[in-house]
Symmetry: C2
Subunit: 379 residues, 2 copies
């Protein structure tokens, strides 16, 4: 559970919610859930959305209600929060290293279906030992590097070699391939994203075939993010899609272009940082009470939501600066101290990680409060 | 209290601490405390260090043990955490807007000495009303903009006008001036920083004199940060110094130059993000388990600490990428999966805000564990 009291009360008018707060527009959120379900209904792949985006079992359960088979996590602590919140099927789409984490991971497998990734034979041996101590059999996927240049062994022979190590480990089961192309997600041009994923699909297909020819069937072939999932969904190779951001969206994803060269509009912004104008001493600026501890700027600045004539131009630790001037189209001199505004986060995942609660709104009122129980679960 | 269990145990060897974790090197931290006390001992100004850096009453009390008169906070929630942790004298060096926060602020003044800043007459009226309800008298400083272009009225006549509003408010006491030049702190060249602060000092002096000529004495004239405090300390105008980062330092402050053109060495790095190598599938990269949710990159990437031949080249949500190659001076092919490394955060304040505990180390072992009780206190 989050340690803090909720920052709002159910039934409160949105304007009464104190700031900074993280708002979910429930109507938009629910439309996003449905849009994803619709988008992949003809695919042979199913959805296993990434819980690193929301860090909230309540959201994960809502994703599963509309078809998701479970969730992905990146951290064992995140997986623990999901299990405690009632999620029964988790893929840790990441390598887990070190005795304390391996012990916890294997213990979780006594309570839920747990799979994990590996890209190192020594780590596979450690996973096997931890599974033996816990008295469980762990599903282990081989992560292959399909172009992101991060974790993962090379596709083909190195993947086969590691899969065989897993297959021979007495307390492990070979679970398939993790083949996420993370660096393709924010290539702006549609053709660029498609080309990167075509390449990833080819490498994955080749590896799946090689493994099959050695008697190793891939239960899961997982990958895809919000920026590229239609390609993986149509590939016939990937059978699990791991998109996460689609439920909320952010400024960074908003800069991706579709096949027509227009900003993508598959999903809506449903997540906002709610902020208050705390200073207004000159005509050309309004200072908000949300800065670097309320908004992650790693992928660019947040965008004001439905406030014409305003530009978010900078953040310091606890302040956000809006340029309010005639140099910004439309101009906007109406903002005054105490006014509350919504901002689209620049990057949703690390922004969510700064908050303990979602304040869920509909029709101008607070309808629900969801604790972000995996907030800060770094380990 | 932090809601999570501590990520380590007292007495544990450092190498046993699970990652990511936030380490304080207690020897270096204590030397930094002493160095600041020594640096300002001949100044007429006293230290009121900024608790937004550490968000931990334990650290604040240690600062007060060596001479600090109290702490600064930026948020009411932060101030509440400090009061609960035993800090008895707090300046909220920021504007506080909105009924819920004003109610809490005024209530805190029943238990501790609380001052706050204002730059708006309407806000002063709201502060007065909240103080009346709580049955307290609040000290209110006028914030002036001395070059940072953020909050604050203009120096001179506008400051006088607002000070008179405060002075006349029945439940408020005029407390002085807040004159922080935030944008000067990271000007790299010594002369550039000095010039910006010379200008701030002149504006502050002029305003102090104007107020005095109208019978308004400034109890506090506050400002200064780790990048500029020697200038304010020597000014004879500022009487409270608000540096925060000096206790820990970070990569960003490490790029500032002293009068000789060398990197400043007033203080040492005492804060580190501890991370584990989780993937090592190619000769030229090592992937760490610390990314954007463990390290704020808003002011630049973290720096590896005492690991020759390695460069931190990128972060994604949960991964940090080290370039390990002969192209990096020295090269370093010794790093292997499971190795633990220390990183100097790029920017200390928002990095601290991602953690619930400090793991305090000395002589290779965990000596103490301090909860970061104001972590996430955004409001």
């Amino acid at each position: 559970m989050a340690d803090t009291l909720p920052p709002a009360s159910i039934g409160m008018r949105v304007e009464e919610v104190d700031t900074p707060a993280l708002l979910i527009d429930l109507d938009a959120f629910e439309r996003n859930l449905k849009r994803m379900a619709d988008a992949i209904q003809d695919s042979s792949a199913v959805l296993r959305p990434h819980a690193k985006t929301h860090k909230c079992p309540t959201v994960g359960l809502k994703q599963m209600e509309v078809g998701a088979v479970g969730v992905c996590c990146q951290k064992v602590g995140e997986a623990e929060a999901m299990v405690l919140g009632g999620i029964s099927d988790i893929l840790v789409s990441n390598e887990i290293v070190g005795a304390p984490k391996l012990t916890k991971l294997a213990s979780l497998a006594r309570r839920a279906k747990i799979a994990v990734c590996a890209d190192d034979a020594g780590n596979v041996s450690d996973l096997d030992a931890a599974a033996a101590v816990a008295g469980v059999t762990l599903d282990v996927l081989v992560e292959i590097d399909v172009g992101a240049g991060r974790c993962g062994v090379a596709p083909g022979a190195p993947a086969l070699a590691l899969a065989e190590v897993i297959d021979k480990a007495p307390n492990l089961r070979f679970g398939g391939l993790q083949a996420y192309q993370g660096s393709a997600q924010h290539i702006r041009a549609y053709e660029g994203r498609k080309s990167a994923i075509d390449s990833a699909i080819a490498m994955t297909q080749e590896t799946v075939s090689l493994l099959a020819s050695h008697g190793l069937e891939c239960g899961i072939v997982g990958g895809a993010g919000t920026g590229t999932f239609p390609f993986e969904a149509a590939s016939g190779v990937y059978n699990e899609l791991q998109a996460g951001s689609y439920i909320f969206m952010d400024a960074d994803y908003g800069y991706n272009l579709n096949a027509s060269g227009n900003p993508i509009d598959d999903f809506e912004n449903s997540l906002f940082v709610y902020a208050t104008v705390m200073s207004r001493t000159t005509g050309d600026r309004a200072i908000l009470d949300a800065g670097l501890k309320a908004l992650s700027v790693d992928s660019g600045l947040p965008l004001p939501w439905e406030i014409p004539g305003v530009e978010f131009v900078g953040a310091s630790d606890e302040h956000g600066k809006l340029l309010v001037s005639e140099s910004v189209q439309g101009g906007n001199n109406d903002l005054k101290v105490g006014d509350k505004v919504r901002l689209i986060p620049g990057h949703v995942d690390p922004t969510v990680n700064m908050y303990d609660w979602y304040v869920c709104i509909r029709d101008g009122r607070v309808e629900d409060l969801w604790p972000i129980t995996a907030r800060g679960k770094l380990q």
